[in-house]
């Protein structure tokens, strides 16, 4: 199914006429009565309030309509009515699993608008915390994915046990486990104590031991191979056209990692590799996350080795009442789920004129139907799990 060199022009754009058969055509052809099953917002396996209306012919999915918006909190309109500093804590609530990296993306955008420089130690701290958030998010995802596959919570609890150790570090640094509100425009808010850095370094050193145990439990498991290989195949050309980014795109073999492309922050100083998949199915997406966690551990050990001393906040940076001059800025980072971007349009006032978030979860969700066609309900739940969406980010 892996089409040869992706000729972008020839591939039908996903937003044109739906390529799959319409429900009416399918119905007339089979004279079978299609069972319309709605896996509603309160379904135990959808990650948060997300609804999938699937039309089933027997076990096979013929049509799947995702419905979301149940968690819409009007984040962008609120941000346009509050000051730049005041909407920083709201960015924690976007993707509530990785608040540190979302804070960084927003801080990056405002710093670009203000033309604000950031001291070295703060840049290192930002890279450390972003990579730790990536490990937290990926261990969360891998845990939830196996929860859908049916083990009674065992892999989820192992993954959460390790995630808790990271989150305790976040709590002792920023004060809150998941709503860290740690980055500011021009640096970080709190300087980590040497004990904190030592504790973080030991945690990073024995994290790979947990990953090996996790892989021994699951990666060779025959049932796991049978349930995930060849399921939810995503064609690289269609993925690029649909704007999918992050591990889902790299699992289809497209080499696009913003940490390498933009080299924002101090990422150019660390050597790490970007894993790529060949088949673009659920198994590849799972393995991609495991390999990315190993790469993050490599980055973190380098960062801990040569983090410099010095101020964590640019002395000239204002603490509040930011009034950037009129203009616009778009900053993006390689979030655990994909390219997370913030677009700010300022008219010189204390509040941004326009505030837009590029949510990777929502954009990765657009091809859900195409991945699920032809598979059964059990697979559609696994495919949804492998795309890794967080409804806070999808609905904003």
């Amino acid at each position: 199914m892996n089409s040869p060199a992706p000729a972008f022009a020839s591939v039908p754009s996903p937003f044109g006429a739906p390529s799959g058969p319409t429900v009416r055509a399918v119905h007339d052809q089979f004279h079978g009565d299609l069972l319309e099953v709605s896996m509603g917002p309160q379904h135990p396996s959808t990650h948060g309030v997300f609804r999938m209306i699937a039309s089933l012919d027997g076990e096979q999915i013929v049509k799947l309509k995702p419905v979301f918006g149940y968690l819409h909190r009007n984040h962008e309109k609120i941000a346009e009515n509050t000051s730049y500093l005041a909407s920083m804590p709201y960015t924690d609530r976007l993707d509530y699993l990785c608040s540190m990296s979302t804070n960084w993306a927003y801080a990056l955008a405002v710093e670009k608008l203000l033309g604000q420089s950031v001291p070295d130690r703060a840049q290192y701290l930002r890279v450390i915390l972003a990579e730790m958030t990536r490990i937290v998010n990926h261990s969360c995802l891998v845990g939830f994915l196996f929860n859908d596959l049916g083990t009674s919570f065992t892999p989820l609890l192992y993954a959460f046990r390790e995630r808790e150790k990271f989150i305790d570090l976040f709590e002792s640094l920023s004060g809150s486990r998941m709503m860290c509100n740690y980055q500011r425009f021009g640096g970080c808010r709190v300087d980590p104590t040497p004990e904190w850095l030592a504790a973080a370094r030991t945690l990073i050193e024995n994290f790979p031991r947990f990953l090996d145990e996790y892989e021994r439990l699951l990666t060779g498991n025959e049932i796991m191979l049978a349930r995930t290989q060849g399921i939810g195949r995503l064609d690289p050309a269609r993925a690029v056209n649909a704007g999918i980014t992050g591990p889902v795109l790299r699992a289809s073999g497209v080499d696009y990692d913003i940490r390498k492309v933009d080299a924002y922050g101090f990422y150019s100083r660390f050597d790490f590799r970007v894993p790529l998949g060949d088949h673009g199915d659920t198994y590849d997406r799972y393995m991609l996350r495991i390999l990315e966690m190993r790469e993050s551990v490599k980055i973190l050990s380098q960062a801990f080795r040569d983090i410099p001393a010095g101020p964590i906040m640019d002395p000239k940076a204002k603490q509040r009442g930011h009034r950037p001059k009129a203009g616009e800025a778009y900053a993006r980072i390689e979030g655990p789920k994909g390219e997370l971007g913030f677009y700010l349009l300022s008219d010189g006032g204390p509040n941004p004129y326009r505030y837009r978030v590029r949510p990777p979860s929502l954009i990765n969700l657009t091809l859900l139907e195409e991945m699920c066609l032809g598979h059964t309900i059990a697979d559609s739940v696994v495919i949804l799990g492998s795309i890794d969406i967080v409804l806070g980010e999808v609905d904003r």
Binding site: L85, P89, N181, R216, N221
Partner: protein, 216 residues
């Protein structure tokens, strides 16, 4: 061989099963009501107001109701009403004080921006997380006297941070006193000079010492 992956998986869960009896890294459960959970020092929950001494909390509030936190609070959950008269604060300088200082902790998201922007270190984050109440409306609207807690309590919950804040405040007060003493000495000298030569209209150093506390 078919099934070798499954057997390896079973071995891992068996190891975890045995590990959960002796390996502290594996058995992480804390039985909450009996064993208290250990909170890190930087943990923050809802804010509280600091008063200098415990005896008269309302009298010695550090807050001078400058309402910066009310403006900067993202969900706008702080309501402050200024007093008409002034009251001398710790450094003896007459300052306003808040007649009402309400925080609606059902709206507050404990983001501690109010602590950041407060120039007088009057508001800090508390560590009390058992705040369940039976009445949702006025049960969660904390008024001034429920919010005010003595500085000694601040030392209990955030020892390192409290020590550093007190150091800074003591330094500022010393600086303010020296300035006041210098001003008083200069005034005394001017008065003495004025008493000996013919009185000349000299305004001399005015009484106003540095504008209240540390400038923003």
């Amino acid at each position: 061989m078919l099934g070798s992956g499954i057997i390896k998986g079973l071995a891992v869960t068996a190891k975890n099963f045995l590990g959960s009896y002796h390996d502290p890294a594996r058995m992480v459960t804390v039985e909450y009501p009996e064993q208290p959970t250990v909170l890190p020092e930087a943990y923050r929950n809802f804010p509280f107001l600091i008063s200098e001494d415990a005896a008269d909390p309302m009298g010695t509030l550090r807050c001078v109701s400058c309402q910066i936190c009310e403006k900067e609070c993202p969900p706008q959950c702080i309501v402050i009403e200024k007093s008409k008269d002034k009251k001398p604060d710790a450094t003896g300088k007459p300052q306003l004080y808040p007649l009402t200082f309400n925080i609606d902790i059902s709206v507050c998201m404990s983001c501690q921006i109010c602590v950041e922007v407060c120039p007088f270190d009057a508001i800090k984050m508390d560590k009390v997380f058992e705040v369940a109440v039976t009445n949702r409306f006025d049960g969660l609207l904390l008024t001034r006297d429920q919010l005010a807690k003595p500085n000694s309590y601040y030392h209990d919950i955030h020892p390192a941070e409290a020590a550093e804040v007190d150091e800074r405040l003591a330094a500022e007060r010393k600086a303010a006193e020296e300035k006041a003493k210098a001003a008083a000495a200069a005034k005394a000298a001017a008065a003495a000079a004025k008493a000996t030569p013919t009185p000349k209209p000299s305004d001399g150093p005015t009484e106003a010492s540095a504008k209240g506390g540390t400038a923003a």
